[in-house]
């Protein structure tokens, strides 16, 4: 089965028309660029309503099974819908942990009961999902997770702490990695995986205020919290395996995501267009020779990443260090993004000093906030410094 050219075109036209018709008006407050930036109820409700609308129209979860709220269609249709969402620059479908990670996991590995119970709520945005993997003392060392889950009759009792829980304060469910057997010979074998409810006594979330002044993450505390034993996914001791499978979805290495726009991509084109009317020395800033030189450097940096993605697929041109483009990708892209966003503030003149909330801030302080938020990518998922060590050791073979 495949989609014919004509079918694809007709479908694209249909989605495009719908997006044009239904794209929400500017709500008058800054919308999140990623699901990690949902800081208040106002943003939450706006995005919940939008996702629900996209799903109701049939443009989300198109390839998920029909009996669980999906569309039961070819994956190719969702890809087209996603492209149109990007092209029309509509808001994100924000329930990403459900749509992108927990959902595909449940479809691939879950029981019939789990599928029936969870999938539809993920798509409709009725149930927000969060992830309980990282812990305060084990940022990057997932296998060492210490949050305890102790079986007591038909319940598990949870004790411990998770951190960087995205939307922890809004979520109804958490994909949770906890230790059921502290005495296992290998630390990995003592871990289990839960689809845990958040609204039980003993689970407390405390929002973390970010450098932007906004919220988006919580610390999550478990104090003798009791969850039903049937929240265990798979069997005890399979937690590491299931967590690794989850990371495959997170990294986009395996298909299965419900689709929808997951993040607003900002390119150097957007920055240049936005700043065309800024003045410097009485002339457009884009005429300033120093700034032009800097801008060209930024354009080249962004272009080099796009070209690198292409070259990585040409084996004859990657023979020196076959994995270097892949392994350095996060380092290069996140650092480029961070520098580019800071530079966008530089270009604004005195307005660069304004911030979100000031009526005269350019684009509502978009670039200021985007710069601060860009650190979530240069720090999260392994800091750039750790990434550089990994590249040095694994690609160049330098000693630890």
């Amino acid at each position: 089965m495949s989609i014919s050219k004509q079918e694809a075109k007709d479908f694209r036209d249909q989605v495009s028309a719908w997006m044009k018709e239904n794209k929400p008006a500017d709500p008058g407050f800054l919308l999140p660029q990623t699901f990690m930036e949902v800081g208040d109820e106002r943003q939450l409700e706006f995005l919940r309503e939008w996702q629900h609308k996209v799903w109701s129209a049939g443009y989300l979860g198109m390839a998920w099974p029909e009996e669980y709220g999906g569309g039961g269609m070819e994956r190719g249709y969702q890809a087209i819908a996603d492209q149109e969402m990007r092209r029309h620059a509509v808001p994100i479908c924000f329930n990403v942990i459900g749509l992108g990670w927990a959902g595909p996991l449940i479809i691939d590995m879950g029981t019939e009961r789990e599928k029936a119970r969870y999938l539809k709520g993920i798509l409709s945005a009725e149930d927000i999902w969060c992830q309980g993997f990282s812990e305060p003392d084990h940022g990057s060392d997932l296998g060492n997770a210490q949050t305890r889950a102790v079986r007591d009759g038909d319940e598990y009792v949870l004790n411990g702490q998770k951190i960087w829980t995205t939307m922890g304060n809004f979520a109804r469910y958490m994909i949770l990695l906890a230790r059921t057997n502290p005495d296992a010979a290998r630390k990995y074998d003592g871990l289990s995986y839960f689809l845990a409810p958040m609204n039980v006594p003993g689970i407390e979330t405390r929002p973390i205020r970010k450098i932007t002044g906004e919220y988006g993450f919580t610390e999550t505390f478990f104090t003798d919290a009791r969850i039903p034993a049937d929240c265990l996914m798979g069997e005890e001791g399979q937690g590491w395996k299931i967590a690794m499978q989850t990371l495959q979805y997170e990294r986009g290495a395996e298909a299965g995501a419900a689709g929808g726009l997951m993040m607003v991509r900002v390119t150097i084109d957007d920055m240049i267009e936005e700043l065309r009317d800024v003045a410097r020395d009485g002339e457009p800033v884009l005429k300033d020779p120093v700034m032009r030189d800097q801008l060209v450097k930024m354009i080249m940096e962004e272009k080099s990443i796009a070209l690198g993605d292409r070259r990585a697929r040409v084996p004859a041109l990657t023979s020196d260090y076959p994995h270097s483009l892949m392994l350095s990708h996060k380092l290069r892209t996140t650092e480029m993004t961070r520098r580019m966003r800071q530079f966008a503030i530089n270009l604004q003149g005195a307005a660069g000093g304004l911030y979100v909330g000031d009526p005269e801030a350019r684009q509502g302080g978009f670039w200021q906030r985007a710069y601060f938020n860009s650190f979530s990518a240069t720090i999260g998922g392994g800091t750039s410094q750790v990434q550089a060590n990994i590249v040095a050791e694994h690609i160049l073979g330098l000693p630890k």
Binding site: R292, V296, M300, E301, A306, D309, A316, N389, L398
Partner: protein, 375 residues
């Protein structure tokens, strides 16, 4: 239209094969000892090695089959030049290739057939282009007098002592034109070699005053202007390809040292202060290779289009800054050893200064990219 826009990048089996052959050839024939043996010789290269390169067909890669070439285009010269850069192998291949392209593009395949056939068969050639140190200068003072005799001299003529043929850029009746001059037409003291920062290179001032140009050796017309513009871009691209190769081997030199040298009881490669800049060099070399092969992909057959121009300029702006950084860090990371002539780091830091100044430095190209991308 997105400024990032075109990200075409393809690499044919022919190119891949030539890249392999060239790397193997350079690895065998141009070890560092052989490079060093040429540093203080007159011509800067081994004629026997040149003959082997000619026999491999490298002087005819981008020339039409009618002229004894293999018709594979400039895109296939790029991997060869990158491989030579990796081995720090000089030779007049870049100058000869560029001179041939200028003749082909300005004069046409038919009229230039015999001179191009000589080049494909191994005759060395070069372009006499600059009259001062400014790559952005467009005025030309070198000219033909009423009797058809050249007046004026050129500077920074690459491989002038080795060249058997010069393509001299002149002004003729208010427009750029080209004059073909054979080495034998020059007076005995016409060539004054420069002392270069990169000792693997040779160039000279050349006084063309008094050389009579036969009618058939004068190329005029609109195609000269386009061909000259393309010469600057192709020169930039080949310099970028070579510099990218040199930066890659400079990186290897650094990594080897970081893996073997111990200080304070530890291999110095374990220190992040050295490790992280080395990763920066790796990612810069990676980007450099992406840029040069992207540019090669866009060259096509005829005059270069806007996307090809953008790509060539980006390749040059990126590649020679990468080599500057790699060479600079190579000296520093070798410590006291790096300060010596004996250490190979000097070859790279010298090559870096040279390459940056061929066919326009990074700022020169970024300035032009700004006009192409921002206006």
């Amino acid at each position: 239209m997105s400024v990032i826009g075109n990200t075409a990048l393809s690499f044919s089996e022919e190119q891949a094969m030539l890249l392999d052959v060239a790397r193997e050839f350079c690895r065998k024939k141009s070890p560092i000892a052989a490079v060093r043996a040429q540093l203080e010789t007159g011509s800067g290269y081994d004629p026997a090695l040149w003959d082997e390169m000619v026999a491999l067909g490298w002087t005819g890669i981008a020339l039409p089959e009618s002229c004894g070439g293999s018709g594979m285009g400039m895109a296939t010269v790029v991997p060869v030049v990158e491989a030579m850069g990796r081995a720090m192998l000089g030779t007049p291949l870049i100058s000869t290739t560029l001179a041939a392209q200028l003749l082909l593009r300005a004069g046409g395949e038919g009229p230039m057939e015999s001179v191009l056939a000589d080049i494909a068969a191994g005759a060395t050639a070069t372009v006499a282009l600059l009259e001062n140190a400014d790559w952005g200068e467009s005025r030309i003072t070198c000219t033909l007098d009423a009797g058809g005799v050249l007046q004026g001299s050129k500077k920074f003529v690459a491989d002038a002592t080795a060249a058997s043929l010069f393509v001299v850029v002149i002004e003729h009746h208010g427009a750029p034109a080209l004059a073909i001059v054979r080495a034998g037409q020059l007076s005995g003291d016409a060539i004054s070699p420069h002392t270069l920062i990169d000792q693997t290179r040779r160039s000279a001032s050349v006084n063309f005053g008094g050389v009579a140009v036969a009618e058939g050796d004068l190329i005029t017309g609109g195609a000269v202007v386009t061909a000259l513009r393309d010469l600057y871009l192709l020169g930039a691209l080949l310099t970028a390809a070579e510099a990218t190769g040199s930066a890659a081997s400079c990186l290897d030199t650094i990594v080897d040292y970081l893996k073997t040298r111990k200080q304070f009881g530890k291999l110095i490669g374990s220190y992040q202060a050295l490790k992280h800049p080395t990763v920066d060099i790796l990612t810069a070399v990676d980007s450099g290779r992406s840029f040069i092969y992207h540019a090669a992909t866009l060259l096509g057959e005829g005059p270069l289009d806007r996307d090809a121009e953008i790509a060539c300029r980006m390749a040059k702006a990126h590649a020679t800054e990468t080599l500057l950084y790699a060479g600079d860090r190579a000296v520093q990371f070798h410590g006291g050893m790096g300060f010596t002539y004996e250490c190979d780091a000097q070859l790279y830091i010298r090559r870096a200064q040279w390459s940056q100044q061929q066919y326009g430095d990074a700022q020169h190209h970024r300035k032009r990219l700004a006009s192409l991308l921002l206006d």
